[in-house]
């Protein structure tokens, strides 16, 4: 499926002709990330992070598989095995640091990718399924990263695992037996480490499968773009290869320079010193916090400090811990409903003055605050601040977005992508799907695709 003007794959020699008949893998690649995929010509650098996320997934799988060759999931030896990798395995220190910091960079890249989706409303029709699959990938990533952090069996591994698995204990009635079943005991132990290792190895491949669905779903409507105006004509697009392979290529190099700077010169900057101490169930660290990429959600979890009671009776309806757990999972689950909570027909935040204000002065400082507070000590004033930011987080997605999408008057959209890039449409009357007067600015009509955008042919 693609636009009518997409380049067609033509096998060049006898072998590729033969292969194209039997198993058209080159054709698949050509149409997916090659010259056969027309992409809007006006993508900015925020659109590079999807490819980078794919790169880091593969990078994590490769370094992870090699690390697994030298690791042993046994609480007696796991910590020592990491030291064995660091000291005795050839370039083991590089593998270990690249994998640990690779996880951090994977999340950096994914957060930029999600950030772009939120600002340009990439979740809106016809791209809801891409967004939903993306949220599933993010949840799978969180589970994978959490279990991976347990494997070195340091102090933070153990106590982080204890706190996070303890969350399941907050579920009414079945909580405690469920927690014991999941952990394989009352506290993280050898069974826990073994199952986490097994799942940590398995889940990246489930992520890879979901990523394939994510890209498949992307190719049905095609990529979104910074104007939010759909593709109308051939001049709106360029083939993915060579245009975006070149752009992604050099940008990947740039990110890898930052990545290498961390891996080679400050490999422990993003971790916790505590995790270089072997796990000790009898010694609780002064401050138990997850890895930095979980901070916002950890801040939301800890924001709920009071039980929900009926005032003056002392009857507890929902315990604080359960409220925190609900809010933490809810903070991501709410993303599943975004395509329907935000009904504005305009996609790009650049053309939505009210949305833009709440995005830059509401959501962005709120997320920055939650990132900071998730790693802070559980004491005042951090608790009160995290409560205020958590409240804003939910208000933003559940209350503010639905209301502003109803009352906002968007700015006029450009007629086409070509016009947005060149200032005027360079193919008047030709293949344009937009009538005789392409210079005219078309105001968006509520309710969808009446702005003349083309649906890609099957």
């Amino acid at each position: 499926m693609s636009f009518a003007w997409a380049n067609q794959y033509e096998p060049k020699n006898d072998f590729t002709k033969w292969l194209d008949e039997k198993l058209p893998v080159p054709r698949l690649v050509y149409n997916a990330v090659g010259a056969g995929y027309p992409v809007p010509r006006n993508l900015n650098y925020m659109w590079n992070f999807g490819v980078l996320a794919g790169f880091f997934l593969v990078f994590q799988i490769i370094t992870g598989v090699v690390l697994a060759m030298h690791y042993a999931a046994n609480t007696e030896v796991a910590f020592g095995q990491i030291e064995h990798i660091m000291r005795n395995v050839n370039y083991g220190w590089l593998l270990k640091y690249a994998h640990a910091n690779g996880a951090s960079f994977f999340f950096v890249v994914i957060y930029m990718h999600i950030f772009r989706g939120l600002y340009y409303s990439s979740y809106k029709a016809p791209r809801e399924m891409i967004w939903l699959l993306g949220v599933v990938i993010f949840l799978l990533m969180m589970a994978t990263a959490f279990m991976g952090y347990v494997l070195p069996w340091g102090q933070m591994s153990f106590w982080g695992a204890k706190v996070i698995t303890g969350l399941f204990g907050a579920i009414p009635f079945i909580g405690e037996p469920l927690q014991i079943w999941l952990v394989g005991g009352y506290a993280p132990n050898d069974s826990t480490l073994n199952r986490f290792f097994s799942l940590h190895f398995l889940m990246p491949f489930i992520i890879a499968g979901t990523v394939i669905l994510h890209i498949w779903a992307l190719h049905i409507p095609g990529s979104s773009n910074p104007t939010g105006v759909e593709v109308k004509q051939e001049s709106d697009t360029v083939p993915f290869h060579p245009y975006y392979t070149a752009k992604d290529g050099w940008f990947l190099g740039l990110i890898l320079i930052f990545f290498s700077a961390i891996v080679f010169f400050a490999p422990n900057a993003l971790g916790h010193a505590e995790n270089w101490i072997e796990a000790n169930p009898l010694s609780t660290p002064a401050l138990i916090v997850p890895e930095w990429y979980f901070y916002p959600f950890y801040a939301i979890l800890r924001a709920f400090t009071g039980d929900l009671t009926i005032p003056f009776t002392g009857i507890v309806l929902i315990e604080a811990k359960l409220l925190g757990v609900i809010a933490m999972f809810g903070s991501i689950l709410v993303w599943f409903f975004l395509p329907w909570l935000d009904k504005s027909p305009v996609r790009s935040g650049s053309y939505r003055p009210l949305f833009k204000k709440f995005f830059w002065f509401g959501l962005v400082p709120c997320m920055a605050g939650l990132f900071y507070l998730g790693g802070a000590k559980a004491e005042e004033p951090y608790i009160v601040l995290s409560q205020i930011f958590t409240a804003y987080y939910f208000l933003h997605f559940l209350v503010i977005l639905p209301i502003i999408s109803q009352i906002e008057v968007p700015k006029p959209l450009p007629f086409s992508i070509t016009q947005a890039v060149l200032g005027s449409d360079d193919t008047p009357g030709g293949k344009s799907g937009g009538g005789d007067n392409p210079g005219e600015v078309v105001k968006p009509l509520p309710g969808g695709d009446t702005d003349g955008s083309l649906q890609p042919a099957e």
């Binding site: 245009y243 320079i257 270089w276 709920f304 409220l323 909570l341 004033p381 009160v384 060149l422 200032g423």
Partner: protein, 284 residues
């Protein structure tokens, strides 16, 4: 519409629960009682210090000072190793700090390590071999506690990584056995150092179980360097930094090579990007 209405109701409900049942009581306590007071010992805590001019291994261009590492090893062997193990380091690793293979073999033989008698299988102590790890001074944790006022001396293999700002922490801790500042004492009159513990202004709660160790002249360096507390602290810190991460310098050197290559590749990539897009960016 249903979803949006549901969202608004849910959002307002959740926020109300958060603000009324969690934020309001917290704010009430905060306004009536103020911020919780920090424990007494906070007044005494000092920022970690660094040696004048820094360590040779500091920074992206750092290198090992082998003479310093060998002095630090001497301090570990003659002082620290009485109580602290170094279990992830093997004698063979000492070749990395400038000893020859023969020197390492001789050095390893000066340590007694647990072994098995080849004739009758009984547990014995035998001289170390280069392949052995550094032995622990205690048979087990219980013995370690019994000898040390109920505190286990931590293994030192990773100590410079296992503490926040660990390199400077170790360096500072060795020199932190000072008299409490009278001003701070005046501020926290209830503060005291329990018997069996020692005041150290860099330890996290000020009272540490380890007695002062690196007193001036406690070792006599074979290279003639004067063994001041400051000198020994710097030397043993350098040695423990190496012990915690023997690949430190190799890592930094590899980093320059990798980043150099990436810079080259990225510039080429950027130029090809500019070339590929040249016709698509032009304004008419």
């Amino acid at each position: 519409m249903t979803i949006r209405l549901g969202g608004i109701i849910l959002g307002l409900g959740l926020t109300a629960v958060l603000l009324l049942w969690s934020l309001a009581p917290g704010l009430f306590t905060l306004t009536s009682e103020g911020f919780p007071e920090k424990p007494d010992y906070y007044a005494f805590q000092e920022e970690n210090i660094a040696p004048e001019g820094g360590f040779a291994f500091d920074g992206p261009l750092g290198t090992w000072d082998y003479a310093q590492l060998q002095r630090g090893y001497q301090v570990y062997k003659e002082v620290c190793s009485a109580c602290h193990s170094l279990k992830y380091v093997a004698f063979r690793n000492l070749e990395q700090i400038g000893y020859t293979e023969d020197e390492v073999r001789a050095e390893a033989a000066t340590w007694m390590v647990p072994g098995i008698d080849e004739k009758d299988g009984s547990v014995i102590e035998r001289p170390g071999l280069p392949t052995d790890q550094f032995p622990s001074p205690y048979a087990n944790d219980i013995e370690a506690r019994a000898f040390n006022n109920n505190a286990i001396p931590p293994d030192l293999s990773l100590i410079t990584k296992a503490r926040k700002d660990g390199v400077h922490y170790v360096y500072s801790l060795m020199q932190g056995y000072n008299e409490p500042d009278p001003e701070d004492v005046a501020k926290s009159p209830n503060f005291e150092t329990p018997p069996g513990l020692y005041f150290n202004e860099y330890f996290y709660n000020i009272n540490i179980a380890m007695p002062p160790q690196l007193l001036d002249g406690i070792v006599s360096y074979s290279d003639g360097t004067e063994a001041t507390t400051e000198q020994m602290s710097a030397d043993v810190t350098a040695f423990l930094t190496w012990a915690g991460e023997p690949s430190l310098i190799k890592r930094k050197q590899t980093g320059w090579f990798v980043i150099g290559f990436l810079l080259f590749a990225t510039i080429l990539g950027f130029l090809s990007y500019k070339t590929v897009w040249a016709t698509k960016k032009k304004k008419i």
